[in-house]
Amino acid sequence: MPLELVEPMEPEASDKEYLWTLNFGPQHPATHTTLRLILTLDGETVVKAVPDIGYLHSGFEKLGEDLNYNQYVTIVDRMNYISPAANEVAWHHVVEKLLGIELTPRCKYLRTILGELMRIHDHLLCVGAAALDLGAFTAFLYAFYQRELIYDICETASGQRFHPSYTRVGGLLYDVNDDFVQKVRAFVKDFPKTHADVCRLLNRNRIFMDRLKGIGVLSKEEAINLSCTGPVARASGVVRDLRKDEPYLAYGDFDFKVVCASAGDCYARYLVRMEEMLESLKIVHQAIENLPGGPVNVEAGSKVVLPDQLSTYRSIESLIQHFEVIMPNRGFAAPVDEVYGAVESPNGELGFYVVSDGTERAYRARTRPPSFIHFAVFPYLIVGHQISDVVAVLGSLNIIAAELDR
């Protein structure tokens, strides 16, 4: 058959046969965890992206109606599994807001330290995985070694590396010992060197900058209208950080800066995360040097916390309270009302809307998931870019599937 010269078609608005669909499927090494994108492409350029989520939906919110406030912390851990203790701090912050409990200073400082270590943890993974997706393997390995050190710190605190389940209503599971303090001090001393190494590898790296600069630009008005918070919004110029705007725990005592950028592209988000890690390290350093003494749980008379072991054996009130808190179907009374509270998690504003019916179980425990809200922004960011930019933008938004789907 002779070859025929084919006229290139003039693309008209109605003639869209040249567009083809690519399934950036749930199983793909570059989509962090299971999420699916249905991309409509014009050659290599993305014309439309439709996200399809729900592959990891596990009914967390339904479980929240079945487990009591102390048990649900194990589920909340597993939402943003990259920074688990941050979710625990958020959950118990809201529960304590509902119950009207004021924590002891030591507990506040310890939760702050844990929250900030988790922020470093999350940003290390986000930056490391974003670099890995673009081909930078060394930065990924450097970042992950530091994450191992943070896992060791979590293990020293509560016995578990990934999901510490460390906070309880009114305090923490256990108090920390000197080992924890030594490990945190060692981390604070050694981390800046690795941070500088990753900066040297990536910040002025020609390939990295070419792949990230100008890609996925989110303007300030769009960021606010689309409910973005956290590093994604701060990189677009929205100067909001719950640690400074609505101070909770011990953040009012520390001196740190809120990192913002104005470009709103993937490179700005990367830079914001890198700098936030150093600010978090400052907070951890200040907190661990000034760790107050005293009890870590609120006093036993508040009826929400387990009394200490010695008083359980010696006094009948403590024994009764121990029974009330531990046994299923018994618990403490909560006000019959609903409250929304939020915390600055590494990904953004992590809030919980807790409706209580007076028992020790939540009637409704809704998570305000930053990953879910940021993934909704994705179709707006990717239009006009190429397939390879899909990976860059996904990496910069830090989408965690378990928080996306719950």
Partner: protein, 167 residues
């Protein structure tokens, strides 16, 4: 205080009879009927400067002590300039589970309303793309309702079995 000024502004623009208020911890709540809801949200966005929709969720009050209505829809609004928060609530009963969509005001309402539809079956009129988001498209029930059991109704055990003969 900021809350009083806000409520005074709302009363002036939307009429004092169109909403009630309550305050718990630091949550200032504005409760409106579904017919007045959009006007109040619009007034809050355009006149009071609440430019971010922090959260949009629903609650099923079926087994709640002293509940008068079945569903409640909650909008958590945030003013990024001043840091103020306000929570707008509306109550719905079967069979009219419709609320005007907040998508024209805040594009962030898109997925949050889809999730409320998916989990509770509340229809948002005017939403551009109201379909299920977390559950599969063919799922028949609304899982977060209180009359839906925790372990489900056997949807995960009744998948159609395809054999090699069916292709």
């Amino acid at each position: 205080m900021a809350h009083d000024k806000l409520l005074a502004l709302l009363q002036e623009r939307c009429g004092a009879e169109s909403f009630t208020t309550s305050l718990f911890r630091d949550n200032q709540r504005v409760i409106a009927a579904p017919a007045r809801l959009f006007a109040i949200l619009e007034c809050l966005k355009l006149d009071a400067g609440f430019d971010m929709l922090a959260d949009l969720t629903a609650v099923d009050y079926l087994y709640y002590p002293d509940a008068k209505d079945r569903f409640g829809v909650v909008y958590a609004l945030l003013n990024t300039a001043t840091g103020e928060r306000v929570y707008v609530k509306t109550y719905l009963n079967e069979p009219d589970l419709q609320v005007p969509s907040a998508f024209p005001l805040w594009k962030g309402a898109d997925w949050m309303e889809r999730e409320v539809y998916d989990m509770y079956g509340i229809i948002f009129e005017g939403h551009p793309n109201l379909r299920r988001i977390l559950m599969p498209e063919e799922f028949a029930a609304f899982p977060l309702r209180k009359d839906y059991p925790l372990r489900g109704k056997g949807e995960r055990h009744n998948f159609p079995v395809l054999t090699r003969a069916d292709g």
